[in-house]
Symmetry: C2
């Protein structure tokens, strides 16, 4: 595989010197781009797009054709693992993800096994390989997975929820069952991310979308401890190159120290945290990724410059910062505002390095 | 007015010694109680119930007839102020609150004025007086209002939202307009809470339901600074009795120090914060109220005992804790689980005092 021409992201995640602050955007290949919507229409559905390596490669590369981003992230969904476990992922029109066969009976939970990614998630690994070849070393490719707890939320609830009452009911009444699911998920996520690394992913990220709705104690017991198992099991090097990892818990601003203590290379921040305070709390234990409010991208170039500039200033001098949003980009984002953001970060960040 | 027989809540909010940890529950008069649903059916609608002092008094007292709670909270809605401003509050069937005339044009925003609570919110003040008389000093009565920012969210968006994109767009593009709305709201909330105190409320609470969706900087500029104006303008004493106040920001766990720095008597905690850590951070600057995950009340008496006991233990020895949920009680809560919670807190908390 070709050597990286732009390794700014990798170096920033490893807290090594970089000439500027690298930037990529969560969900950067997505519905705010007209070319994405065309590809999705051709695929027929979001899930068909995910499962077709040619089309998934095409949409992964779309934002890089438009913008000078410092990374690609493989186009996929966090719920590919439970789908590969046989739960039957589908997307009803205009709604979020659902499962045909959510975990209900105790025997279904006891029967759960981690899928072999090289067999059941081949399409993701094929996409990773194809994107990696297409990038030809221009920028690194990020692989990702949902956290064991976030996967469990959908596997138990069967769909998204405002309060995940079914999940919480299991957590408080049958913690043994939830722990069993989480143990299987941790094995599955670890194997899946390692397979993505072997297929060509040069950094990996764990998305803990729902850990932030837990109590302090429950977050540590049911979410973070399993994310920590994943981090402990990840390959840190592949073909002579370091492969850094990132853990992002939305709503996890109160727990940055314990997230960093998993040994991850970088901690993702949502937009509610002051990145300067986060840096002071984390110290040299991890790099930080974030943390612009995605709503800023719906406003104006002037506001984008002001808000992005404030984040760079709050982080301050030195390395270890990857600029990103605090959550996925909104589908309502005008594409030209993404240009304004990248220009701002590229233009202003050099003086901090 | 009669002197308080049970002043445990007031004393705990003022960090004075109490024989046990007082308890009340956010939204304790609500849909989980069959007698509430009957009263609401008689009223015809939620809003008709709020606006009828006789019925509002009846439902305020319902949970106190069932449970040995340490406080009543006046039955009302956080959106009574914008309704009194002429925005036309209504509730569509099975949906959240909406306004017929949300703030859209700049002239509408410039025309906004704080309503005189003794004229336009008379029904709330009448309810406060009636409840106070009916309680006859058994337990204190809490008055409340939405925070200036939370009111603005609904006034601008016209209804609830998952991201309040319209509000954030104004925040980033026209901060001058948002500041104007918030200034008017701060005056209105202060006058409204002071009128509730004069009508008989013995403690008051500010609900900042949506401040937690803001960035760190925006929270301080657009939410907390206006809540601080309210706190600074509140009567602290009425008819010789101290009237403590409470500020609750859902998702505000990262900002407890600055919330306490408003000078409020107590800080409300959602369930994501460890109450022991919160106490260490806040020190002697404020009492704490919270912080059981409302989902625990959907489980079993055994889980309730374990989780409520853990909160009492984490808070530890000493005064200044008011037990509560970390958010409003779920309508799916079995009423007998509320009994289990109150018994647990009453039974276990004495040993910490």
């Amino acid at each position: 595989m070709s050597k990286l021409k732009n390794d700014t992201l990798i170096r920033a995640l490893l807290r090594e010197p970089t000439p500027y602050t690298p930037i990529w955007l969560m969900r950067q290949a997505g519905r705010y781009l007209p070319e994405y919507n065309q590809a999705r229409a051709r695929a027929g559905s979001f899930l068909a797009l995910c499962k077709n390596p040619d089309l998934a490669t095409e949409v992964t590369l779309q934002p890089l054709a438009r913008y000078p981003l410092d990374a690609a992230i493989v186009f996929s969904d966090i719920l590919t693992i439970p789908d590969a476990m046989g739960l039957g992922l589908y997307f009803a029109d205009g709604e979020g993800p659902k499962f045909e066969r959510p975990l209900r009976a105790e025997w279904e939970i006891r029967d759960l096994t981690a899928p072999d990614p090289t067999a059941h998630l081949r399409y993701v690994l094929d996409t990773v390989s194809q994107v990696r070849r297409a990038l030809a070393g221009s920028v690194p490719l990020i692989g990702f997975a949902g956290s064991p707890f976030t996967l469990a939320c959908y596997m138990i609830e069967g769909q998204g929820s405002s309060d995940f009452a079914t999940v919480k009911n299991m957590l408080y009444q049958r913690p043994d069952l939830l722990h069993h699911i989480l143990s299987v998920n941790a094995v599955a996520v670890t194997a899946y991310l390692n397979a993505q690394i072997e297929a060509g992913a040069q950094a990996v990220m764990v998305f803990d979308t729902w850990g932030g709705m837990l109590s302090h104690a429950a977050f540590h017991e049911f979410s973070l401890s399993y994310t920590a198992r994943v981090i402990a099991g990840l390959k840190r090097e592949h073909e002579g190159a370091r492969v850094p990892n990132i853990v992002f818990t939305k709503g996890g601003g109160g727990w940055l120290e314990s997230i960093a203590a998993t040994g991850c290379d970088a901690v993702g921040l949502d937009w509610t945290v002051d990145i300067g305070e986060a840096r002071a709390r984390i110290g040299a234990r991890a790099a930080l990724q974030g943390n612009l409010d995605p709503a800023v991208l719906l406003s104006s170039p002037a506001a984008i410059q002001r808000e992005a500039g404030a984040i760079l200033e709050r982080y301050g001098l030195g390395n270890g910062h990857v600029f990103n949003l605090g959550h996925g980009i909104s589908q309502l984002t005008p594409p030209e505002n993404v240009s304004a953001l990248i220009e701002t970060v590229r233009g202003l960040s050099g003086s901090y390095h």
